[in-house]
């Protein structure tokens, strides 16, 4: 079951508040997403300092099956990206909810997260519950 400490999108991304005062959230893809993709071999990551908006493309992920777009679950400025994924994209297969995070974003409005799905809603959406 998906962790309850974060919110989810229909495109299988998660967003987790790391520091509420700084409006800082981390973003990644779900266990369901990595399982569907199969072995991930490459990430096209966004650049630090760039702005992302809700459901706009933030990068690409390539697996042995296909190349897929990554969509940002939040609106804000990118504070950091997980450069470990450049050499070790398999981190997202092994640990999608923790060390396989993709980027950290400073949000314009934390309230934006309220529109996303909860863990139980997401699990119901993917048929995992």
């Amino acid at each position: 079951m998906s962790p309850e400490d974060r919110k989810y999108t229909r495109e299988h991304e998660w967003a987790k508040v790391e520091d509420a005062d700084a409006k800082l959230v981390s973003v990644g893809i779900t266990h369901f997403a990595q399982d569907e993709l199969g072995d991930i071999v490459y990430f096209d990551l966004p650049n630090v300092g760039e702005n992302v908006s809700y459901m706009q493309k933030m990068g690409e992920v390539e697996s042995v099956k296909a190349v897929s777009d990554l969509f940002s679950p939040v609106t804000g400025r990118i504070e950091s990206v997980n450069n470990e994924l450049v050499d070790h994209p398999e981190l997202v297969n092994d640990d999608p909810f923790d060390s396989g995070w993709i980027m950290r974003v400073v949000l314009e409005d934390l309230g934006e997260l309220d529109t996303l799905m909860s863990a139980s809603e997401y699990d119901e959406y993917t048929g995992a519950s």
Binding site: G38, D39, I40, V41, Y42, V64, K65, A66, P89, E90
Partner: protein
Amino acid sequence: MLKGGSRDTGMLLMERSVPGRAGVVTPPLDVPEQPLPDAAILRDDLALPEVSEPEVVQYFTALSQQNFSIDTHFYPLGSCTMKYNPKINDEIAFLPGFAAIHPLQPPDQSQGALELLHTLQEYLGEITGMSGVSLATLAGAHGELAGVLMMRAYHHAQGDLGRTKMAIPDSAHGTNPASAAMAGFDVVTLPSDKDGNVDLEALHELSGPDLAGVMITLPSTLGLFDQNIVEVCRIVHEAGGLVYGDGANMNALLGRTKLGDLGFDVIHLNLHKTFSTPHGGGGPGAGPVCCAPTLEPFLAAPIVTSSGNGAGPSYSLSTPEQSIGKMSGYHGNFGVLVRAYTYIRTLGDAGIKSISGNAVLNANYIMQALKDIYYLPYDRTCMHEVVLSADWQRPRGVSGLDVAKRLLDYGFHAPTMYFPLIVHEALMIEPTESENRYTLDAFIEALRQINRESEDDPDMVHHAPHTTPVSRLDEAGAARHPDLRWRPSV
């Protein structure tokens, strides 16, 4: 097999190298020695294998014999139309008048070759219901790019610069979005409805003054004929857009349906699929572009024109007035075009029509024989290919990839896997018209057997293939840490 034996392809030529061994012995110098103008261009740091001629021949012959090919195996690779390539195609292409002609030979010395190209343009126009044809594009995606560049040129010629969007169904051929993006369009995905047709409601929403057109693969990569195709063309035209047709799946329609009659404006054909010219690594390919009269002025150059002057037809090369320009050096892949011409002439009208009939029959035969044990996501009469799914095998620990790999052990090339993306665990099977019922029955039996194995011994299937020169390859490892260069071991 002994290591280093002539059939041991695991030992690379570099590893067989022995200092001083050579395939060719050059004769001693019998002219006065001259100093090189610049001795610095000589280098001795390039490591080349020192091997004998028979060693090289045995090595590469052994490698070639490990191939799966259409001359050795059933090759149901979906969407690729791996049909048999009749040998007469090569025989004609090897005629000295075709094989030894130079692309810069003046037209008055190459009337025969030009006549062949001109006749092929007419045949392809007749088959597709299109008036304009250019043979200059060298592959399917190359033809796509030419076609969408023509769409752009057409809109610009109308003074309409605001059409930036290209709509592409999620069941379209995989190269379409790349071609549209290369031509500068913003790609918008068009969803399929529950029957696998283009979702008309979504198309209506997208159709506006910024829509340049849609790129339709017919039949789609689901192997289905879009039942609303005429309506799709009407909606797009009404919004001022154009309809592009990806001809990758023309094998299903030959002699029966003309894309021009359905409302398509521009299409490409894959001669290396539909018209039995060499394919895959054995190319080169050819992707002629065919179009309606409105787009003819924009065709890629050159096209072959005929001007009868009383003394028999005279053929020449010409550039359409608002041409998108040249897409290749000369006249396209001429040897491939000769083969496609030969194929059409060998078969004639009735033969061409029998291709699509048998291709569709074979795919439906496989579908009916397997749909009780492999999930069939769109349960409709299919066209030239059937898309099954390994969804029912997956809970047993056997994926579509595993099924495909296990087929190699039964002596069959794998079907296309995991495409189209809208089908889970997709297995896309295209038998083509080349195979007889015995082969199809053996293939069906192999897939039934693999399904039984997925119940009895899923682990064995998961680690297939077991009988090929190399077993399951680490695709992810190869992509994550590519090791592309041989280095001497120290």
